[in-house]
C-alpha cells in the first residue's frame, strides 16, 4: 500500500486509490466508541423500533462519523504529514488524491443523513447532520487551529451519538439523552488532554495549539482535574435526577471514583518525559473503559431492571 498516486513522471497518470484507503479514511477504530454510545442511546430509549431500522440507524451514525473523519483528514492533510502518528494516513502518505477524500466525505455525509431520515425520522437525521457539520466546521476548521480549548467545545461533536440513537427510536430528545450528551462532553477534555500530555511533541511539531503546547503541562494537569470534577457531576446527574436506576448509580459512583483517583495522580505529577508517563497513559486507557462501562450500565438499567 506504499504506492504513490503518480506512477511515473513520463506518463503522469494517477493511480486510483485503493478501496482499503477509503476505509482507513473513515477512522474505523475511533468509530467503535461512537457506534457503541449511539447503540446505547438507542437501546436505552423507551419505545420500540424494528431491528432493521435500528441497524440502519446505527449504520448511519457510523457512516456519519466516517464522513466527518474523511472531511477532517481532507482539511488536515498538511498537518497530518508533520506528525509521526498521522503521517501514514492515505492523504499525507500520497496514496490518495485530496479531492477524492473531499468527494467521498461529502457524499457519505449526504447519504448517511438522508438514509437516517428515510429509515427512522428527520429529527435523528437533523441531529446527525448537525454533528457532522459541527465536527467539520466548528472543530476542524474553526477551533482546532486557533485555540487550546479546541477539544472542550469540539468534544460536543462526539457527544451527539447517544442523542441520535435515542431520537431514532422516540422522535424526540428528553432529559436522559441530554444528560448522556453532557457526560461525553465533559469526559472529552480529560480523555484527550491525558493523550496530549504524552504525544505533546507531535502536536508541537505540527503547530496545533494543544493545551500542553500552549499553556504547559502544569496547566494541562490542573485542567484535567478541573474537568474531571465537572464530569463527575455529569456522571451522577442521571441517577440523582432519577433518570436511571441503581445499577447505573453504583457503576457511575465506583467508575467515577476510580477515574478521579487516576486524574488526581496525573494532577499531582510533574513529569515531562513522555516515556515515563505511565499514569497519564493509564488515565487515557481507563477513560475509554469508563465510558463503555457507564453507557453499558444505562442499557442494563433499562433492560434488566425494567
Amino acid at each position: 500500500m506504499a504506492s504513490t498516486p503518480i506512477l511515473s513522471d513520463a506518463s503522469a497518470v494517477a493511480l486510483p486509490a485503493h478501496w482499503r484507503d477509503f476505509v482507513a479514511l473513515t477512522k474505523p477504530r475511533v468509530m467503535t466508541l461512537v457506534v457503541f454510545t449511539g447503540l446505547c442511546g438507542l437501546l436505552a430509549a423507551p419505545g420500540h423500533i424494528h431491528p432493521i431500522l435500528a441497524f440502519t440507524a446505527i449504520l448511519c451514525i457510523a457512516l456519519g462519523a466516517g464522513a466527518a473523519a474523511s472531511l477532517n483528514q481532507w482539511y488536515e492533510a498538511d498537518v497530518d504529514a508533520k506528525m509521526k502518528r498521522t503521517a501514514n494516513r492515505p492523504l499525507p502518505a500520497g496514496r490518495m488524491e485530496r479531492q477524492s477524500a473531499l468527494h467521498f466525505g461529502v457524499g457519505l455525509s449526504f447519504f448517511s443523513v438522508l438514509l437516517m431520515g428515510v429509515a427512522t425520522n428527520w429529527l435523528a437525521a437533523a441531529v446527525l447532520a448537525v454533528s457532522i457539520l459541527f465536527y467539520v466546521f466548528v472543530y476542524t476548521i474553526w477551533l482546532k487551529p486557533r485555540t487550546a480549548q479546541n477539544i472542550v467545545i469540539g468534544g460536543a461533536a462526539g457527544a451527539f451519538p447517544p442523542v441520535i440513537g435515542w431520537a431514532a427510536v422516540t422522535g424526540d430528545v428528553t432529559a436522559l439523552p441530554v444528560a448522556l450528551f453532557m457526560l461525553i462532553f465533559f469526559w472529552t477534555p480529560p480523555h484527550f488532554w491525558s493523550l496530549a500530555l504524552f504525544v505533546k511533541t507531535d502536536y508541537a511539531a505540527a503547530g496545533i495549539p494543544m493545551l500542553p503546547v500552549v499553556s504547559g503541562e502544569v496547566a494541562t494537569r490542573r485542567q484535567i482535574w478541573f474537568y474531571t470534577a465537572i464530569m463527575a457531576v455529569a456522571a451522577m446527574a442521571p441517577v440523582l435526577l432519577r433518570l436511571t436506576g441503581l445499577i447505573y448509580g453504583i457503576t457511575a459512583l465506583l467508575g467515577t471514583a476510580l477515574f478521579a483517583f487516576f486524574a488526581f495522580q496525573v494532577f499531582l505529577r510533574r513529569e515531562s518525559d513522555a516515556a515515563r508517563m505511565a499514569p497519564e497513559r493509564r488515565l487515557f486507557k481507563y477513560s475509554i473503559i469508563y465510558l463503555f462501562l457507564l453507557f453499558g450500565a444505562v442499557v442494563v438499567d433499562r433492560w434488566v431492571v425494567a
Binding site: L7, S8, H18, H50, I52, T56, N121
Partner: protein, 43 residues
Amino acid sequence: MTPEERQQIRARQKSRALVTGLLLGALVILFYAITIAKIGGGN
C-alpha cells in the same frame, strides 16, 4: 504508460469496481429490508 503501469491501474480499478458492486448489492438488500419494515409498521 508502460504495460506494467497499465496492469497496475487495471488491477486497482477492478478491485474498486468489485467492492462498489458488493456495496450496491448490500444496499439493494438493505433498502428492500427497510421497505418491508416500514410497510409492516415497524416504526
